[in-house]
């Protein structure tokens, strides 16, 4: 690997379910609070200055102005600070046995359940090309169709 910088690796901190950069989080919080409060106080000043407006309603309008500031701060911070998460596309296809294991089931149990499954479920499985499951159906079941296993074998080749 090429060392492209001599700086320490960037540290991430997990806060409230996602990773953030602490410095940027501090800036975001400051921007959020200052912008929201600033616009709210400004709104209060303007609306309370209007003589024909009830004070409670004036506060309500000021809150709306504040909410605009709040959304604005969100937009600004989203532009300034990029998300610290990696989004990757991957269809996680694993061995059907592994998937069953994760569900706490065995191949035998699934085959048994499939043999008794309602035709509507079998139809949905067919629509989704879930032949990995369909191929498990035992031959003595009314749900059994020889082509399932053929297609499955064809897929594996």
């Amino acid at each position: 690997m090429v060392k492209n910088n001599e700086q320490k690796p960037i540290k991430y901190t997990e806060v409230w379910g996602d990773t953030v950069n602490l410095k940027e989080l501090v800036y975001s919080c400051m921007i959020g609070v200052i912008l929201t409060m600033g616009l709210f106080l400004l709104g209060q000043k303007i609306f309370h200055g209007m003589e024909n407006l009830e004070p409670s309603l004036a506060d309500g309008y000021a809150l709306l102005v504040g909410v605009v500031g709040c959304i604005g701060s969100g937009v600004i911070c989203a532009k300034l600070f990029k998300p610290k998460r990696q989004v990757e596309e991957r269809s996680e296809f694993e061995d059907i046995e592994e998937t069953l294991k994760a569900a706490g089931m065995t191949i035998e149990e699934e085959a048994e359940a499939l043999s008794k499954a309602h035709p509507s479920i079998i139809k949905e499985l067919e629509d989704l090309d879930l032949y990995a499951l369909l191929a498990l159906i035992p031959e003595d079941s009314p749900n059994y169709k020889p082509e399932y296993r053929k297609i499955m074998e064809g897929n594996n080749k």
């Binding site: 690796p9 540290k11 991430y12 901190t13 806060v15 409230w16 379910g17 953030v20 602490l22 940027e24 989080l25 800036y27 975001s28 919080c29 959020g32 912008l35 409060m37 709210f40 409670s56 309603l57 506060d59 309500g60 309008y61 000021a62 809150l63 709306l64 504040g66 909410v67 709040c70 959304i71 701060s73 969100g74 937009v75 911070c77 989203a78 600070f81 998300p83 610290k84 998460r85 990696q86 989004v87 990757e88 596309e89 991957r90 269809s91 996680e92 592994e98 998937t99 569900a103 359940a113 499939l114 008794k116 499954a117 309602h118 509507s120 949905e124 499985l125 989704l128 879930l130 499951l133």
Partner: protein, 456 residues
């Protein structure tokens, strides 16, 4: 009643639906934290009670629909209510059917909403006669409720015992507030409890040992499954997306969900979901049936938790009424619990049905087709463009503003203090925010009784 009001309700519910459809996609957002503040702003603005009701139903419906998107796509809970769905969605992902689990959930939520609205109204009628009986015992009932919810939490007796110091904490702040601003506080305390878990995690960063445990070498990784190839209409009939058995289970669960309004929505969703999963043997059927029923439950418990306490008692006697819908019950000076003056006094029984359906429909208008069609690309875009920092910052701004609005700088201080202590209770002791909300309502009675008992 005018056409204009119907139109206003529809627009409110639709606009709310748009906003909360987006919030639903953001993983980990909390219903109370996101719904209560904005609803509070609308209450303060003096929006008509029936419009507020339609808005509430609309935003609940929207969020219960789109929270399935990150849950199904990335096995990240789109909201607190989506947490029980994560294990089954993770299995669905492994089986390569995240788009199907999402569709089943969206259909389940819509069916749950359609059935739960009238079911809740009927149940409210059955329970309403007890309303007059309840009134003199509110303090006691809140305390019993608080003890029950506390005992149901993971902290068990720890949470029950913690109600006592917590009550003194709340009442202590109330006394300070009376001296400082001449009134007791609600919004600031409520907001403090709501953001507590986040405040406490931010506070951890200041403690070297805890900071180290929260540090990561690399950014959070999120995997998204590729989009499906199947074509569906923009607003497909939800009943057509479920099998016969799934429809039956969904309809039954809607009524159960509404009836279980006093229990924690997450707990009932887990309970019924596991019950159904245990009775379904085949893997694909197990996954799809369980997730659809779970989203039915999530929606139905929310509607039941809003409609039944509101129509029957006007008192916040459910976790939903104490959390996301709290401003419709208690938002002084406009709405108060003592004396009873809130949506309960304004809404006619038929309003609950008509405006409820306006809410369900308007709230689904964007969320439902989005789940069917646009889930994949929009989720990815959101993940890539909106940083977590930006969301936390904006959120903190909102909390500051609402607390300041209620009690000036004192409000902000109370909010942050309650947030820190409540957040520690939530994060370290599993005394969750629901227990704390209930504790807030029970605190007056608990403190008075204890002081009387010791002769003060």
């Amino acid at each position: 009643m005018s056409i204009l009001l119907l139109l206003e309700a529809f627009i409110a519910a639709f606009m709310g639906g748009v906003i909360y459809s987006i919030i639903g996609i953001i993983p980990g957002t909390d219903e109370t934290a996101t719904m209560a503040p904005i609803t509070l702003v609308l209450v303060i603005l003096g929006v008509d009670p029936v419009v507020l009701y339609a808005w509430m139903i609309g935003i609940m419906k929207a969020m219960q629909t789109t929270h399935t998107i990150p849950t199904a796509m990335a096995a990240l809970p789109g909201s607190t209510m989506a947490i029980p769905m994560v294990p089954y969605c993770a299995l669905g992902k492994r089986l390569g059917i995240p788009h199907i689990t999402m569709r089943k959930m969206a259909a389940g939520s819509l069916i749950g909403g359609i059935i739960a609205v009238p079911a809740s109204v009927v149940l409210a009628y059955i329970l309403a006669p007890f309303g007059n009986f309840i009134q003199p015992y509110i303090g006691l009932i809140f305390t019993v409720g608080a003890v029950f919810i506390a005992w149901m939490s993971n902290a068990k007796w720890g949470a029950v015992i913690a109600l006592i110091p917590y009550s003194f904490l709340i009442q202590g702040f109330q006394r300070l507030a009376i001296e400082a601003v001449g009134k007791t506080l609600f919004i600031s305390i409520f907001m403090g409890i709501t953001v507590g878990p986040m405040i406490s995690e931010l506070f951890n960063v200041l403690v070297p040992k805890l900071r180290d445990s929260q540090q990561r070498d690399k950014p959070n990784q999120i995997w998204l499954a590729p989009d499906s190839k199947e074509k569906l209409p923009l607003f497909p009939n939800p009943f057509k997306l479920l099998t016969k058995r799934q429809k039956k289970v969904a309809a039954g669960s809607s009524v159960i969900g509404a009836a279980a309004f006093t229990l924690s929505p997450v707990a009932t969703t887990v309970l019924i979901g596991e019950l159904i999963a245990g009775r379904t043997k085949e893997l694909y059927e197990k996954i799809t049936t369980t997730v659809s029923v779970q989203d039915v439950m999530a929606t139905a418990t929310y509607f039941g938790g809003l409609i039944i306490p509101l129509l029957a008692f006007g008192l916040p006697l459910s976790p939903v009424a104490l959390g996301p819908a709290a401003p419709l019950f208690n938002a002084p000076p406009r709405f108060t619990v003592e004396p009873l003056h809130n949506l309960h006094n304004y809404l006619q029984p038929w309003h609950y049905i008509v405006f409820g359906y306006i809410g369900v429909f308007a709230g689904s208008l964007l969320a439902y087709p989005m789940c069917i069609k646009k889930a994949r690309p929009w989720t990815e875009k959101m993940f890539r463009t909106i940083s977590h920092e930006a969301m936390i910052g904006a959120f903190l701004g909102l909390i500051f503003m609402l607390s300041y609005y209620e009690a000036g700088v004192m409000g902000i201080i109370v909010s942050l203090c309650i947030g820190l202590f409540g957040g520690i209770l939530h994060n370290f002791f599993e005394i969750h925010t629901g227990v704390q909300f209930m504790g807030y309502y029970a605190s007056g009675w608990i403190v008075t009784q204890i002081l009387t008992l010791v002769g003060m």
